[in-house]
Amino acid sequence: MPSPKALRALPLVELGALLLVALWCLVFQLRLPGRLPTDADERAVADVLARDARPGDAVLLFPWWTERARLFVPPSVPVYGWLESDGADLGAHPRIWVLGQPELPRSDVGAFDAAFLPGRKALNPEARMGPLSLRLYENGRYRPRHWVASEAVSAARVYLEQPDGSRRDCPFDGKVHRCPGPPHLYVAPEWHEILYEPRHCLWMHAPGGAQRLVAEFANVPSGMGLRLEGGIIFEFAHPKDPRLSTSYLGVDDAATGERLLNVPIPPGREGVQKAEVVLPPGPPRTVKVWVQADNAESRQVCLDVMALEPAVGVRP
C-alpha cells in the first residue's frame, strides 16, 4: 500500500507537472514571433533571386506550405510547394533554390533532406535572411526536354475519332481546339490540380463512348524517352462509384498505329500517372495523343507528353 505521505504528494506532483507544461507553453508562445520571417527577410531573398536566378531556375519551398514567399519572389522564377513536393523531381529545372524556414515548429530538416537531396548537389553555402534559409542546388534529376505537347498544341491537329477511324475535326480558334459537342470537349493547355499538385497540362476531357479525343503532333523527336504524365483533376479522381468508367490515356504512332504508351486510370486512382518508352533513333514521328472513357462523367483528364533525355545527374 502506498504511504499516506506519497498519496498526499500526488497533487503536488500533478501540479508541478502542469506548471512545467504551462511554462513550456509560455516559452513557445513568446518565442514564436521570433521564428517567423519579416517582409524585409522575404525581400532580401527576392533581391538575391532577382540578381542570381537564371532562366530555368525554380524555387522549392520548405516546409511545402510556406507560400507567403510567392508575394515576393520575382514572377519569372516559378515557385513550387505542394503536399509531397519535397520529393518531386522538378525535372524541367536544372537548378533549384530551396527557400526554407527550418526554425518553424515541426519543420523537419532531416525528412526534407532525405526526400530532396538524392540526385542533387548544393552549389553554394546556405544563406540566412532572418529565419529564412536560401540555398542553390544543381538538380541531377533534370531531364532536358526536346518537345512538350502542351507547348506545341497550337500546331496540333485535334479531332474526335470513332473506332472505325472516322473523324470529326476540332478546329483551333487561336486559343483552344474546340470540338463539336458539349462545351468541355476541347484541347488547350491549362492549370489544373492533380492530387494537390499544380500541373500546366493539356485539358483533354474524355468524350465518352468508344470514340477518342485525339491530338495529333508532328515532328516529335526520336532517339529519346517519350513520356506521358496525366491524371484526373481535382475531386473527380477520388470517387470509386461503379457507374464511373476507366479513363484510358495513350500515345500511338500515327504512321504505324503502334501503341507507344497506354495509361489506364480506373475510378478512385488519384495522382499523376506516368508511363515512358524510349523511342529508337530515327526521323521525327507524328504521334496521336488520345483519351477515351466509356462513361465520360467525372473523367476530367489533364495530361502532357514530352520527349526527354535521361536525367543529367550531378557532376562530381
Binding site: 498519496l7 503536488l12 507537472a17 506548471l19 509560455l26 506550405w65 515548429p105 515541426r106
Partner: protein, 624 residues
C-alpha cells in the same frame, strides 16, 4: 475570489444550492463574458452557416410582424411555411432569438449594426457557460475549481470564436450544461426537476445534440432512485412501477411499429387522434399520477425521478411549441428533421496529411483534434483531471486498493460521463467529421470542470505545505501565480489568432505552423476573409467583380450591409468572371487557386492573410 483554495468537497449524488456569493460570482462571470464577446465581435467574420442563420432569423422575425398585424393569417400553414420553411434542418429557438433581437435592437431601436443585433442572444447563451461552470465546479470541487473552469473555457480560442457566432454550437453546450446542472439540483428540490425538463426542451430546441441527454442522465436518476429507496419497500415498488410505465410505453411503441408495418407506416398513421398520441398522453398522465403517489411515500425517490418525467413530457411539448413549422405537420416535419441529421452528408476534411472524404473515420480523431487545438496548458489539467477521476474509480473497485483513494461521488461520475459523452458520439467512425471541434463542445465544459478540480487539488496541496511553515499565508498567494501561469499562454495564443478562430492550434501541435506541417485543416467556414477585405476595399476598382471563394452570397451581402465591404463591388462565382479573387486555402480546393492562375495568367498573388506564415486567404488581381 475571496476563498479561492478549499479542500475538495466530497458529495454524493445530491445537489446543493449556490450560496449568495456564488450566485453573485456567477452573475459577474456572465456579465464579464457577455461584455467581452460583445466588445470583440465586430472583428469576427461571418461564417457560411451564420449568414444563413441571419437570413433565416430575418425571415422568422417577419412572421412575428405578421403575428402582430394579422394573427389569424399568421397561424395558417401557408403563412408558417412561407416564413419558417427556410433552414428547417435546425430547430429555431436560437434563430428566433437572433431575429427578435435584430428586430428590436437594429430595426426598431437602431442601437447597433445588423450583425451585432443578430449575435447578442448568442453571446448571452455562451456567457452562461462560464457562469454555470463556476456554479457546478464550485459546488463539486470548491471555488478554485469553479474559477478555473469558468476562466479557462473562453480562453480556448476555438471556443471563444464560436461564442461570437450567431450559431448553435456554443448555445447547445450551454444548454447541455444547464440541463445537467438542473438535473443535479433536482436531487434537492422538485422544482429543479421541472426546470430540468424545461431546460431539456430548450436544449433540443437549440440543436439536436441534446437528444442524447436522456440516455446519459436516466441511468443516474434510476441509480439514485434505487439507492434512496433502499429500506423503503413502498417507495421502491412505486419506483419500479414508474420504470415499468416507461418500459411499457416503449414496448407499446415498438409493437405499434411492428404491427403497422414499419417506421414509414408508423409515421404515416401518427395523427392527433391515434394510438401514438394516446401512448404519449398516457405516459404523461401516468407519470404524474405515479409521482404524486410516490411523493407521499418518499420525497428523495420522487426527486430522483421527476427530471425523467419532466424531460420525457416537457421536452417534446416544448420542442413542438417552439417551432411553428411543426404546428400543422408535427410528425412528418420532425421525421424529416431527424432523418436529415441521421443521414448528414460528409465534407472533405484534412487530417494528419490525409484528406478525409467519407467514413470510416479514425477512431482517435476527436482526441487528437482536441489535443492539437485546446491550449496545452489547459488541455493538460483536463487530462489529469479526467485520468484522476477514472483512476480513483478503478482503484475503488478492488478491496485491496479501495483505501488508497477517495471513491468518486456520483456527482463526480455525472461530470465524468458528460465529459466524454459528446466525444464518444463524435468519435464513432461513421459520424460526419467536419466543423473542427464544435460538435463536442458539450464535453468541453465538463472537462473544464475536471481541469479545475486538478488545479484546485494542486493549489490546496501547495497551500497546506506553505501553511505549515507560514500559517498566515493567503490562498491567493498560491492560486494567483498558478492561474496566471496556466492561463497566460492560452490568452497569448487566443490574442494571437483572434479573430481567425478556426485556424487555432495548440502548442502541442506547434501552433499554426506545426499544424500545417502535420497536415491539419488550415481553416474552414470562410470567415477569415475579413483579413483581406480592407485590401479589397482599398484596391478594387469601382464596381469591381469579386470572387470571394467559399463565401456564400448571404455572407457577401452581410459584409456589405455591415460596412466591411464596399457596396459598389459585385459578387461573381468564378475566377474567370472576376477582377479580384480571394481564394480560401483548403487542401480540397487547390483546383480553385490553379483556375485563378489560369484565369488571370499569373501565379503571383497580390496580398493575402497569412497567420504565423500559414496561408489562409490568398488574393489575386487580374492584371490590367
Amino acid at each position: 475570489m475571496t476563498a479561492p483554495v478549499q479542500a475538495p468537497v466530497s458529495l454524493p449524488l445530491t445537489g446543493r444550492p449556490a450560496t449568495r456569493e456564488e450566485k453573485l460570482t456567477a452573475l459577474a462571470l456572465w456579465v464579464l463574458a457577455f461584455a467581452a464577446l460583445w466588445s470583440t465581435e465586430a472583428a469576427v467574420g461571418f461564417t457560411r452557416d451564420e449568414s444563413v442563420y441571419f437570413a433565416a432569423a430575418e425571415g422568422y422575425s417577419q412572421w412575428f410582424r405578421l403575428l402582430l398585424h394579422s394573427p389569424a393569417q399568421a397561424f395558417t400553414d401557408s403563412a408558417i411555411v412561407r416564413a419558417w420553411d427556410y433552414n428547417h434542418e435546425h430547430p429555431v429557438l436560437m434563430k428566433t432569438l437572433f431575429g427578435l433581437s435584430h428586430l428590436l435592437f437594429h430595426d426598431t431601436l437602431g442601437l447597433m449594426r445588423d450583425a451585432t443585433a443578430y449575435r447578442l442572444p448568442a453571446f448571452a447563451m455562451a456567457a452562461l457557460v462560464p457562469a454555470l461552470c463556476f456554479l457546478l465546479g464550485s459546488a463539486l470541487y470548491g471555488r478554485t475549481a469553479g474559477w478555473f473552469a469558468a476562466l479557462s473555457f473562453l480562453l480556448v480560442p476555438r471556443q471563444y470564436f464560436n461564442a461570437e457566432l450567431a450559431c448553435f454550437d456554443l448555445p447547445v453546450a450551454a444548454m447541455w450544461l444547464l440541463v445537467v446542472y438542473c438535473f443535479w439540483r433536482a436531487l434537492e428540490s422538485t422544482r429543479w426537476g421541472i426546470a430540468c425538463g424545461v431546460a431539456f426542451g430548450l436544449a433540443i430546441a437549440t440543436k439536436h445534440n441534446a437528444l442524447f441527454m436522456p440516455f446519459v442522465l436516466s441511468p443516474f436518476a434510476l441509480w439514485r432512485a434505487w439507492q434512496v429507496s433502499e429500506g423503503v419497500p413502498e417507495a421502491r415498488v412505486r419506483a419500479v412501477r414508474f420504470v415499468g410505465l416507461y418500459a411499457a410505453v416503449a414496448v407499446l411503441y415498438g409493437l405499434l411499429v411492428v404491427f403497422l408495418g414499419g417506421p414509414a407506416a408508423f409515421q404515416k398513421k401518427f395523427l392527433l387522434l391515434s394510438p401514438h398520441t394516446l401512448f404519449f398522453v398516457g405516459l404523461a398522465v401516468g407519470s404524474g399520477v405515479l409521482l404524486r403517489d410516490l411523493k407521499h411515500v418518499s420525497l428523495p425517490v420522487t426527486r430522483a425521478l421527476v427530471p425523467l418525467a419532466a424531460m420525457a413530457v416537457l421536452g417534446p411539448v416544448l420542442f413542438y411549441l417552439h417551432w411553428p413549422y411543426l404546428w400543422h405537420a408535427p410528425v412528418d416535419r420532425t421525421a424529416w428533421y431527424l432523418a436529415f441529421h441521421a443521414t448528414h452528408n460528409h465534407y472533405a476534411w484534412f487530417y494528419l496529411g490525409t484528406l478525409m472524404r467519407g467514413p470510416p473515420f479514425p477512431l482517435t480523431y476527436v482526441l487528437v483534434k482536441t489535443a492539437l487545438t485546446v491550449p496545452t496548458s489547459l488541455f493538460a489539467p483536463m487530462v489529469t483531471g479526467f485520468v484522476a477521476l477514472v483512476g480513483r474509480a478503478l482503484l475503488s473497485l478492488s478491496a485491496r486498493t479501495r483505501e488508497w483513494v477517495r471513491m468518486p461521488t456520483a456527482s463526480e461520475a455525472l461530470v465524468g460521463v458528460n465529459a466524454v459523452t459528446s466525444i464518444l458520439i463524435i468519435s464513432h467512425p461513421q459520424v460526419p467529421h467536419f466543423g473542427g471541434v464544435k460538435h463536442w463542445f458539450p464535453s468541453m465544459t465538463f472537462l473544464g470542470i475536471l481541469a479545475g478540480a486538478a488545479v484546485a487539488r494542486g493549489c490546496f496541496a501547495v497551500w497546506e505545505v506553505l501553511k505549515a511553515r507560514r500559517p498566515s499565508v493567503s490562498p491567493l498567494a498560491v492560486t494567483v501565480p498558478v492561474f496566471a501561469l496556466l492561463l497566460v499562454p492560452a490568452l497569448l495564443g487566443s490574442v494571437r489568432v483572434f479573430p481567425y478562430g478556426t485556424a487555432a492550434y495548440s502548442e502541442l501541435a506547434g501552433g499554426l505552423p506545426g499544424a500545417a506541417t502535420l497536415g491539419m485543416q488550415r481553416q474552414f467556414w470562410s470567415s477569415h476573409v475579413t483579413g483581406v477585405l480592407p485590401w479589397i476595399n482599398e484596391h478594387a476598382k469601382p464596381g469591381a467583380r469579386i470572387y470571394l471563394h467559399e463565401v456564400n452570397g448571404f455572407s457577401f451581402r452581410d459584409y456589405q450591409r455591415n460596412g466591411m465591404l464596399r457596396p459598389d463591388v459585385r459578387p461573381v462565382n468564378s475566377p474567370f468572371d472576376a477582377d479580384i479573387v480571394a481564394y480560401q486555402y483548403h487542401q480540397e480546393f487547390r483546383e480553385h487557386e490553379f483556375l485563378t492562375w489560369q484565369a488571370f495568367g499569373t501565379r503571383t498573388p497580390v496580398t493575402g492573410l497569412y497567420l504565423d506564415e500559414t496561408p489562409q486567404v490568398i488574393v489575386y488581381q487580374r492584371p490590367e
